[in-house]
């Protein structure tokens, strides 16, 4: 399906005034008025800060991000803020793909490798694994970082999972990105494209591109958020060790 924003592509062949007019007409036609990009980002941060539960998926779409010798492919977390989460990781070890699960509940960390039952981790052991709940930390996570983007630019009105959203680009510092996830250790600025819901203002998607891959290589990470304030059940794992 072609997203509404992609209809703007023919603008490249139009003169700037005509392109601007066409953009306004097209955006108006899809029912979502253009937003001041800084306002959109600020509203996105505020809405995300107020979340109680959310499902977050992180996918590495370009480059390699390694932790503990595993190449991260994707991670999906059901998060109940402020401190409970159930995250499934898909990683590659050489060319073999495996998955494991980490549950954080009541201050305890539980780890379930493939085929086995849960065992408990110490906080130090758990810190070796990317914690997607950190994305929602009010001081260093998306609520704090997203509004602080430099050079915000409104790109288009778009749809994400059928929801009209503002697509905004911005630039973030390496320090800001590392605050989101310590495993994203960037060398230099990171470019981000962020989709903010038109009516609910939730951050629905973010694509980060920069030199935060292994050895500072170019990488791209896609963060998808859904299930805002939906019921999340995180059961206490049965421990075996």
């Amino acid at each position: 399906m072609i997203s509404r924003g992609e209809y703007l592509y023919p603008m490249r062949r139009l003169t700037p005034p005509a392109a601007g007019l066409a953009a306004v007409v097209l955006v108006a036609a899809c029912g979502l008025q253009p937003e001041d990009p800084a306002v959109a980002l600020r509203q996105g941060g505020q809405a995300t800060a107020a979340l109680k539960t959310v499902t977050a998926t992180v996918k590495v779409t370009k480059g390699t991000i390694t932790f503990q010798g595993f190449k991260l492919v994707a991670a999906t977390a059901a998060v109940r803020l402020p401190d409970a989460s159930d995250t499934n990781y898909t990683v590659r070890d050489k060319d073999i793909q495996i998955s494991f699960e980490v549950v954080i509940l009541d201050g305890h960390f539980f780890f379930r490798p493939p085929l086995l039952a849960f065992s408990e981790l110490t906080p130090a052991q758990a810190a070796q694994i990317p914690d997607l709940a950190l994305l929602f930390d009010p001081n260093h996570g998306l609520p704090a970082v997203i509004p602080a983007g430099r050079n915000p630019q409104y790109q288009a009105a778009d749809q994400v999972d059928g929801v009209d959203s503002h697509r905004v680009s911005a630039t973030y510092s390496a320090e800001q990105i590392k605050g989101l996830l310590p495993q994203l250790s960037a060398q230099g600025d990171v470019q981000a494209v962020i989709w903010v819901g038109g009516s609910d203002h939730y951050i629905r998607k973010a694509v980060l591109s920069g030199k935060f891959g292994d050895n500072g290589t170019d990488s791209t990470v896609e963060v998808d958020l859904s299930g805002f304030n939906s019921a999340v059940h995180i059961a206490s794992p049965t421990r075996t060790g």
Binding site: Q68, F70, T90, Q97, Q125
Partner: protein
């Protein structure tokens, strides 16, 4: 359909058709060494290996369904157009397979669909190429041509794993495993175009008649095999060997396959006399071929996987490990041909299968460090694998000859495809059954160990060692079962095959 004598370059035409068949046959097991990378790229993890079995069983099911159908259909429609259509289906399946994981929603179902289409197209090529060989050659040349085509099919299937590993390694920067399937598209186009162009020069001396695809048979066979695969699918291998549908799907499968067999026997009777179809030699040879197919599948699939998961070999090295077995097959086939003529079919078949059984028995005791054990200048594992392949090669000739002996010369193509059909059916059933058994045993052996190492990495590495040990034990047991299957097939051959050697003249005059 008989073609006129004096055809221009029948060797080239048959060579092109055979090349296409060879390419299609290689794809049956080409995935064996590529499985971990393929399933990873469609989002599956290695602990759900059972979900990957349709990548092989789906191909085999398509292969087996198409094989008996298209020979008669091409009598009416012409060999070349039907051959080209099969190649187009095979190429389309290859393209779908190659693009799995690249497009939204193109996951495991997309991948399996591609593999089934590959099998349907590839399976159709077997009777078509055999029939083309019969069209192009007469007299004793026909038997040689048919034998060559059957040999190409066999060779393609056994060289597939190495071909896949070697090509994927060589094309690492061009898509790795995807390139293996993408390469099929131009190869299929060349073979199809060559057969179409070459065939135009050949005038049929009999007019096409109204034979069509036997759809009832197609439905019976397709549904029967589909239900068989479903019955043997291990939906919860951690807790049980077979799924919930084992009994109902298995019973329905037996009914449908029985009905298919009954229809086929009735249709074959004009070509092969009823008493021969019901003869002990025919039934024994067919059953032995089914068992050989199941045991051969163990070697073709489990040896490379053992190499990857237990011996920590990469794609290419696991494929190379299998070459020890593959080298034995053609050598054994030559020995089997000579022995069959000298000491008879039944003793030759028994010797071949006993050789494979002994090799499997030795393999059932392999330790984790097997690849470092030597016997003189050779690695012990290489000798066992070569002996296993040698035995499988030796048995090809007597089992095929037992069926060919029953058929008139002009139906040798049909008889040969029956041999391939029986073996492929055995491979399909063997793969499904042994996967179900193997994965269940794997979970039983692994149990519920506790890993409490200091770091996550160390815990996963510890688990990997436990998994490796469990896989090794599982494969040892499967090798022991394969040894028993080979012995059963050998005893069956001894009891049912005729004592007389295969005599070409006798069958040619029949």
């Amino acid at each position: 359909m008989r073609l006129t004598a004096g055809v221009s370059r029948p060797v080239v035409l048959l060579g092109l058709a055979g090349a296409g068949l060879f390419v299609a046959a290689t794809d049956a097991y080409v995935v064996v060494t590529l499985l971990p990378a393929m399933i990873a790229d469609v989002g599956l993890t290695i602990d759900r290996l059972e979900q990957a079995t349709p990548l092989i069983s789906g191909f085999l099911a398509g292969y087996v369904v198409a094989m008996p159908l298209l020979g008669a259909y091409s009598d009416a429609r012409g060999r070349a157009p039907v051959y080209a259509a099969c190649m187009a289906i095979f190429a389309a399946g290859s393209l779908i397979t190659a693009t799995a994981g690249l497009l939204p929603g193109a996951g495991i179902v997309w991948l399996v669909t591609g593999r089934v289409l590959q099998g349907l197209g590839g399976g159709g090529l077997v009777p078509l190429t055999l029939a083309l060989a019969a069209d192009l050659y007469g007299g004793s040349g026909r038997t040689v041509a048919i034998g060559s085509v059957a040999g190409l099919q066999e060779a393609g299937s056994v060289f597939g794993p190495l071909y896949g590993a070697a090509l994927a390694t060589a094309a690492a920067s061009l898509g790795s495993w995807r390139f293996v399937f993408l390469a099929n598209v131009p190869l299929a186009a060349i073979c199809a175009a060559g057969v179409l162009l070459g065939h135009r020069r050949l005038a049929p001396i009999t007019a096409p008649h109204g034979t069509a695809i036997d759809w009832p048979s197609a439905v019976l066979l397709g549904a029967g095999l589909g239900l068989l695969v479903l019955a043997l699918y291990p939906d919860d291998p951690a807790n049980r060997a077979v799924g919930d549908l084992f009994v109902p799907a298995g019973a329905a499968s037996l009914v449908l396959l029985g009905a298919y067999g009954w229809r086929q026997v009735r249709q074959l009777e004009p070509f092969i006399p009823r008493q021969l179809l019901r003869s002990a030699a025919f039934i024994g040879s067919s059953l032995a071929n089914v068992l050989v197919g199941a045991a051969l599948m163990v070697a073709l699939v489990d040896v490379p996987i053992l190499g990857r998961l237990v011996f920590n070999l990469d794609e290419l090295d696991s494929g190379l490990l299998l070459t020890r077995l593959l080298v034995g097959v053609p050598v054994g086939a030559l020995i089997g041909g000579v022995l069959s003529a000298r000491i008879g079919l039944r003793v030759t078949a028994l010797l071949g299968l006993a050789c494979s059984a002994l090799a499997f028995w030795q393999m059932s005791g392999w330790p984790a460090g097997e690849l470092s054990l030597r016997l003189g200048p050779f690695r012990q594992a290489d000798l066992a694998l070569a002996a296993c392949g040698l035995g499988f090669g030796v048995v090809i000739s007597p089992l095929a000859a037992a069926v060919l002996n029953l058929a008139r010369t002009e139906t040798h193509g049909l008889a040969s495809s029956l041999v391939v059909l029986a073996r492929t059916l055995g491979m399909l059933a063997g793969l499904s059954a042994l996967t179900a058994f193997g994965l269940h045993r794997f979970h039983q052996i692994l149990g519920n160990p506790v890993v409490n190492d200091p770091t996550v990495r160390e815990r996963v590495d510890h688990l990997a060692r436990l998994v490796s040990a469990a896989f090794l034990q599982e494969y040892r047991e499967i090798f022991a079962i394969a040894a028993v299957i080979c012995l059963l097939a050998g005893l069956l051959a001894l009891a049912t095959l005729g004592p007389l050697p295969y005599r070409l003249a006798a069958t040619a005059n029949r």
